[in-house]
Symmetry: none
Subunit: 210 residues, 2 copies
Amino acid sequence: MSDEPHFLREERVEISRADANSEAAVEPLQLGKRVREIRLSQNLTLEEASKRTGLARSTLSKIENEQISPTFSAVNKLVKGLGIDIPQLFSQPKRSAAAGGRRDITRTGTGTPHPTPTYEHEMLATQLTSKKMIPYRTTVRARSFEEYPEWVRHDGEEFLYVLKGSLLFYTEFYEPIELFEGDSAYYDCEMGHSLVSTSEADAEVIWVTA
Amino acid sequence: MSDEPHFLREERVEISRADANSEAAVEPLQLGKRVREIRLSQNLTLEEASKRTGLARSTLSKIENEQISPTFSAVNKLVKGLGIDIPQLFSQPKRSAAAGGRRDITRTGTGTPHPTPTYEHEMLATQLTSKKMIPYRTTVRARSFEEYPEWVRHDGEEFLYVLKGSLLFYTEFYEPIELFEGDSAYYDCEMGHSLVSTSEADAEVIWVTA
DNA sequence: AACAAAAATTTCCTATTGGAAACTTTTGTA
DNA sequence: TACAAAAGTTTCCAATAGGAAATTTTTGTT
């Protein structure tokens, strides 16, 4: 047998193609290592993991030793059977740290206030600069759509989560929709958007922009 | 040729095994449909998608028509080449997405569940693909730091907001810090991080990764 | 250390994937 | 409608994945 995993060879070919052609270089991706760590962390033997996932002992062994590239079907069984966190599977090994280790904690109510006629923003994590996302907690003062002179539009995407109360979510291209505690929305900010409280007390939301 | 995809048959076997044995029933999972939606939404032909991903036209066609279960290696090429959001691939089909002014509402409790030994994730806004951010609502099941075999590390930045309960926020380069309802944190994910509930009931948080 | 039991790996084999090219369907244009 | 070009599907085959069982390695006990 070749002592080099086939799909790694494949990857290498892929990289050169990408060089010549267009995008996407595909890195090695140490799926096997990951899987082994996860299995051991749950104190499972291959036999037990086999029962949980429905994959043969031998297959699991080969996956862990990076001797095969499992099918999507097999990966799914792994994910479901072992309760694997998906982002970890696909992200890089990430050598032990030394990389960006920033952290910023914001205690309730201690964010930076930023009031407007219609919203009462509390900006979070303001200590950190150059963030990919901008999070804030907002109280929606507006009580009718007319309070907005014009659509709010800006770059990027926005995630919205309703903490308290209820509100109407107006968007340029859709019917307004009422959101309640625990509901969330994700949308393109180039599309006009605005919020109007409908509950007795002003609604409160978490907003994250990227 | 059989008119039934092989791996679907396989899945069915898996389900019965799971019934008899222990956990994890694996659903059909319409990967193909997803991929097609994503490709078309970017106005790509199979030929173009082939160039971007490095997979043969024919292979792409078969994947989209659910005639084969691609290997992990192939899935990776898809992900990198077409800019697919990983979690989308593992979550249920749902409806198709529009382009331009996108919007996706997720009602309380209707997100896509993704349980792990330590966290109970509910993925939000799973109908939209190619998002800059990935939002989750998570219940923290872990009760001690020892339940994590190793630091969780991955690419990007993360915003965390505590909805309910209290928890200890462990990070690789800082002292653990206790967070309460309404507190939030923003940090680099390359730095090891994990959460442990300290309140009577499991703590609940909103998590947004970018 | 020697042995037995458990766990992991490897072998051997069949079934499935993935690529090249042939073929079919769809689209658009006169 | 007829035709050509583009897009998509299917076929065929070599390469690879996945399962059962044999083999090797590790672990634990005396």
